[in-house]
Amino acid sequence: MLKKLNDLQFVIGLFFSVVSVILLLNVLLDDHSSNLNIYTGSCFLVFGLAMMLIRGKGN
């Protein structure tokens, strides 16, 4: 894990994945949450996972 963190793609992917989880959790926990959080959170999650996977494939 520590080795992976040395890779910038992995760090960026992890950051956007964490932010997407916060956005999506906010949707689940807040009844008044906007759909914009769902769309943005989903896009961030796809981007974040893609960045981490690209890094994995690269290795």
């Binding site: 960026i12 950051f15 956007f16 916060i22 956005l23 807040d30 914009l36 981007f47």
Partner: protein
């Protein structure tokens, strides 16, 4: 605008990540070159994104949205006339000299090509400019957070400066560059939803064109007469002042951005850095100009029901600098609001860290090592580089407080920066492409260009600024005045350098190999695939840029 738990959590996660990057890089820092120049080891995709991200500070993001609202689509000239052509020129023609000369900084190149006094003049003015720019960026961030979120000014200053200091102190240039890439994605992805929903709310581009005055949605059509367009500029002034002097001066000679290309792994990557960077740069108007145009459209009577207004300043006029924050406040709910605010914070930090890392490289190598303490161990210069990082941040904080006390200091400093930067490109152009150019010529040209810039500003007046010698020539916009000042200073530098060079002794050819075009072996591209060669890539980018200009003519 008020933030909730989820918003604060996103800001906190961002802070943890940027500091974390600093800690991860720290163990790779073994020498002063690692700390100050990244030891020329950074991959192409990172140098390219860092290249545009170093410029993606507060001035770019908030300033360009403001210009989009004030001047309309003409603001794209900063990209499609200015940046792209200059970036291609840097990659194809200038990087071979910067990278091939093995100089660690732009002032060091000047010392190799000309002499120590030219290097000293450039290094000192650049160091002063960067550290003050960093302070102004810090002030702007704290002021913005105070006005939109009611955060305490002092806390904003110390927290943001403290975070930038931690990650630049730990990991030096590499840490700043890595964070710039993270910041780039955050700014682009964090602001993209805003553009999409605001554009939808405004009824799409066709409706914008229908609702706004035509000069706000045409880039060139109304530039035949200076009185017909919001910038008050004739197209020739724009092409020469912005397209040639200012843009080439900034993109090709400012060490803050050039440094990102100089840390690439090899010459090919160094040349490709600004060219690859030009691809996202070309698209940036979608993120930083279009929101401004949308904002002004949303204020038209037909869209009054949308309930959006650009805030007004104390004098009752529209406060264009608040356009982006007010759009974020209007459209972003809790959660994504945290992303938007974090994107704004990232843009400020990116600008500040870029300035600080460029400052410590130039101060350590071009001032301290060159004039004060020579021939010390590498460990000594690494320590000095780290200390200078802390000192640079502290000076930035002091500048931020000075800016708070004296509002005009921002305008004054920007003005002085313009005087110094405006003529610089003439020095490099002559130095790289005319081997007869001498050190005395370059130095005299820089001084003459700076004086000419100050005098031109003193006799022109625009939006109440300038005219401090005699208000002889009124100009419609401050931006137009800046282009004219830059054009005059460049011209004075160019001809003064030529005249003085002709009567002074040039360096022998042997000393100019690798520093001047005619005496340097040209890079060989024919073994590479076409998409790796800088010339075909550059031509392709220029063709696309011309097409974009044509589409939005």
């Amino acid at each position: 605008m008020s933030l909730h738990f989820a918003d604060y959590l996103i800001i906190l996660v961002y802070f943890i990540f940027v500091i974390g990057v600093g800690f991860l890089i720290k163990k790779k820092i073994k020498s002063s070159n690692d700390f100050l120049t990244s030891n020329r080891s950074i991959p192409l995709w990172i140098t390219s994104l860092a290249f545009i991200s170093a410029n993606l500070g507060a001035q770019e993001v908030i300033g360009m949205v403001a210009s989009g609202a004030k001047y309309g689509i003409m603001t794209v000239h900063f990209y499609w006339v200015g940046a792209i052509f200059a970036m291609v020129f840097l990659g194809v023609f200038m990087m071979p000299f910067y990278y091939g000369s093995r100089a660690r900084s732009v002032p060091e190149y000047l010392s190799l090509r000309f002499d120590e006094k030219t290097r000293g003049l450039n290094a000192i003015s650049f160091a002063v400019m960067t550290v003050f720019s960093s302070g102004i960026s810090l002030y702007a961030l704290a002021k913005l957070m105070e006005s939109i979120l009611h955060w305490d000014f002092d806390i904003s200053i110390w927290v943001s400066a403290g975070i930038v200091m931690i990650y630049t102190f730990l990991g030096g240039l590499t840490s700043a560059v890595y964070n710039e890439v993270l910041q780039f994605f955050l700014i682009v992805l964090g602001l993209s939803p805003l553009v999409i929903i605001a554009l939808q709310d405004a009824g799409g581009w066709d409706n914008i064109k229908h609702l706004l005055q035509p000069e706000m949605t045409h880039a060139w059509k109304y530039m035949g007469n200076a009185n017909d367009n919001p910038m008050g500029l004739h197209f020739m002034s724009l092409i020469f002042g912005l397209g040639f002097v200012m843009s080439f001066g900034y993109w090709c000679t400012d060490f803050l951005v050039v440094q990102r290309a100089m840390i690439a792994r090899n010459m090919g990557d160094a040349q490709r850095t600004p060219i690859i960077a030009a691809i996202p740069k070309m698209m940036m108007p979608l993120i930083v100009v279009l929101p401004g145009v949308i904002a002004i459209t949303l204020m038209q009577p037909a869209l009054e029901s949308k309930g959006y207004r650009i805030p007004t300043a104390a004098n009752g006029e529209l406060d264009y600098t608040m356009t982006l924050p007010s759009l974020i406040a209007h459209y972003y709910p809790t959660g994504i609001l945290g992303v938007g605010i974090t994107a704004l914070i990232a843009s400020f930090m990116s600008g500040m860290a870029g300035n600080v890392t460029a400052f410590n490289s130039v101060f350590t190598f071009d001032i301290y090592q060159s004039y004060f303490v020579k021939n010390k161990s590498d460990r000594h210069y690494l320590l000095v580089g780290k200390c200078v990082t802390v000192v640079g941040i502290l000076i930035s904080i002091v500048t931020a407080y000075i800016a708070k006390s004296f509002n005009n200091i921002n305008d004054f400093l920007q003005l002085v920066f313009g005087f110094v930067n405006g003529p610089l490109f003439a020095t490099f152009l002559l130095g790289m492409f005319w081997k007869r150019t001498t050190g005395h010529g370059a130095f005299s040209g820089l001084v003459a260009g700076t004086i000419a810039a100050a005098i031109t500003h003193g006799v022109t007046v625009a939006e109440g600024k300038g005219g401090w010698i005699a208000p002889l020539y009124p100009i419609k916009s401050g931006m137009g005045q800046a282009f004219i000042v830059a054009g005059v200073s460049w011209t004075f530098n160019f001809f003064t350098t030529i005249l003085v060079s002709l009567v002074t002794k040039p360096k022998p050819d042997e000393q100019l190999k690798g520093l001047v075009y005619s005496l340097t072996e040209k890079p060989k591209y024919h073994q590479q695939k076409w998409y790796l060669r800088v010339v075909p890539l550059g031509i392709l980018l220029l063709v696309i840029t011309l097409l974009l200009n044509f589409i939005f003519f």
